[in-house]
């Protein structure tokens, strides 16, 4: 047990050293700032986990978990307090993305998009019980009519919330992953090789 804990500590330390610290903070803040860009361009795009994905690609899963949790906490400090209850979802998103990124999923769009869909399913599965129990499925994300529809069909709150998630989340995460692929594809070599997980972006370099 001792060395497992030790290896956790070293890998966390590796992913949160030097260059990564400010970038993780940026990743968290980016999650909260995408709404402003979407508003400027009047696009119904949500993309509230693109910061977490970029941190996962460049710094690794632990860093992505930190970025996601910090973004969520600050979201509840500055905007809607209940969002802090969704930290488990954010942890799953960060961990999954970090692991998937290591297999170079973000280097091709036809691997990024399906990974996004899987991510969406995972996120829906994890957030459904929380949303069902605490909010009886209401999220104010514009998808609440779906929950009402499934409820009217006689399904339980948990099932209705889960089905709503199955429809909304994979689409949103697929868009987020594809957008991340567009960004990862255009990152500068000189800067990326300074990050702990640079091989996720430039595998062939020394």
């Amino acid at each position: 047990m001792k060395n497992v804990l030790e290896s956790f500590r070293t890998s966390i330390r590796k992913e949160t050293s030097g260059v990564s610290i400010p970038f993780i903070a940026f990743g968290a803040a980016l999650n909260l700032s995408l709404g402003q860009i979407a508003g400027l361009l009047k696009l119904p795009v949500y993309l509230d986990s693109i910061g977490t994905v970029l941190v996962a690609v460049l710094c690794g899963p632990w860093a992505a978990v930190i970025a996601g949790s910090v973004a969520n906490t600050i979201g509840s400090i500055t905007f809607s307090p209940p969002s802090v209850f969704f930290i488990p979802t954010v942890i799953v998103i960060g961990a999954f993305t970090g692991i998937v990124a290591r297999h170079g999923v973000f280097r091709k769009w036809y691997t990024a998009l399906p990974a996004g869909v899987i991510q969406g399913l995972l996120a829906a599965a994890v957030s459904a019980p929380i949303s069902a129990y605490l909010f009886s499925g209401i999220t104010l994300s514009g998808m609440d009519f779906l929950v009402m529809f499934f409820r009217a069909e006689g399904k339980s709150i948990l099932l209705s919330t889960f089905l709503q998630g199955l429809i909304a989340d994979p689409l949103d995460k697929a868009i987020t992953y594809t957008a991340a692929w567009v960004i990862v594809r255009q990152l500068p070599h000189r800067i990326v090789i300074r990050f702990p997980r640079y091989e996720n972006v430039f595998p062939s370099s020394d």
């Binding site: 255009q186 990152l187 500068p188 000189r190 800067i191």
Partner: protein
């Protein structure tokens, strides 16, 4: 294409009166140096020329187009603005693609040719396929200047272009300014580097707390007896060449090293 502002006022949200009744005419084909302390209203005025900011009262005319009636994307075909921080705009993964961003948006015939020609002016054509962020920060700044020039607009404005440049890069920028003037472009330069900018501009606009304290030919400004006081009002010291020429008793004040040497040469022979 000349630029005209008629009693231009601009009040920012927190009732900060940034521009207090500016009436200016900048004739086509001139290089104008816009001087003033931080907060004098220089960049506010710049942002009115390409319609980013709309006048609170008064008017801004780019040629015959009133900036109130069009948005920035439309006016960008007349006025290209190169901002102080290159990191605010670089959005491509290669130098040539970045330089083509402006011309492509304006629907120019051959954006790549325009881009490559602008890059050649700053000897960046060798880095055409390099990622802008793999370059040294001063080269990124050169790239944003080249991107503005590549838009081939009648009016080009540069905000603090030479900050962080070394001698060779300042020389390259100087040559580019000469080339733009030869092509009859109107060039607007905002800079704190007085000694450098005076070499290339034809006329000067001095601003202080939102109003224009001087607008006229460079020679008029330099030959004014109260030059020191006017400049100090805008937080600026005397240009070094002026201090030198006054100290050794030359009457007229030169604005470049060559001019100074020429003046000395003529004076000695009289």
């Amino acid at each position: 294409m000349n630029l005209r502002t008629k009693d231009l006022h601009h009040v920012y949200a927190g009732d900060i009166h940034a521009l207090k009744g500016i009436s200016l005419t900048i004739a086509g084909g001139r290089c104008v140096l816009l001087l003033g302390q931080n907060g004098a209203g220089k960049s506010t005025l710049l942002k009115h020329l390409n319609g980013i900011l709309k006048p609170t009262s008064g008017e801004v005319l780019v040629g015959e187009t009133n900036t109130k009636l069009h948005d920035a994307a439309f006016l960008a075909q007349f006025v290209a603005l190169s901002f102080q921080n290159p990191d605010d705009q670089i959005s491509s993964k290669s130098v040539v693609e970045e330089a083509m961003f402006g011309p492509r948006n304006l629907g120019k015939q051959d954006p790549e040719a325009l881009a490559r020609e602008a890059l050649r002016m700053f000897s960046l054509e060798g880095d055409a396929n390099t990622h802008p962020y793999d370059l040294h920060p001063s080269k990124r700044k050169l790239l944003t200047i080249a991107s503005a020039i590549a838009m081939d607009t009648p009016v080009v404005a540069f905000d603090e272009p030479t900050a962080g440049f070394d001698v060779t890069q300042r020389c390259l920028f100087g040559k580019a300014l000469e080339r733009l003037k030869e092509r009859g472009k109107t060039v607007i330069l905002v800079s704190h580097d007085l000694d450098y900018s005076l070499q290339y501009c034809d006329s000067v606009i001095l601003m202080d707390h939102g109003s224009v304290t001087f607008h006229g030919d460079k020679i008029h400004l330099l030959s004014r007896p109260d030059l020191r006081e006017i400049l100090r009002a805008s937080g600026l010291g005397l240009p070094i060449l002026c201090r030198m020429s006054k100290a050794i008793g030359l009457r007229t004040a030169p604005s470049s090293v060559e001019e100074f040497v020429q003046l000395l040469h003529d004076n000695r022979t009289i």
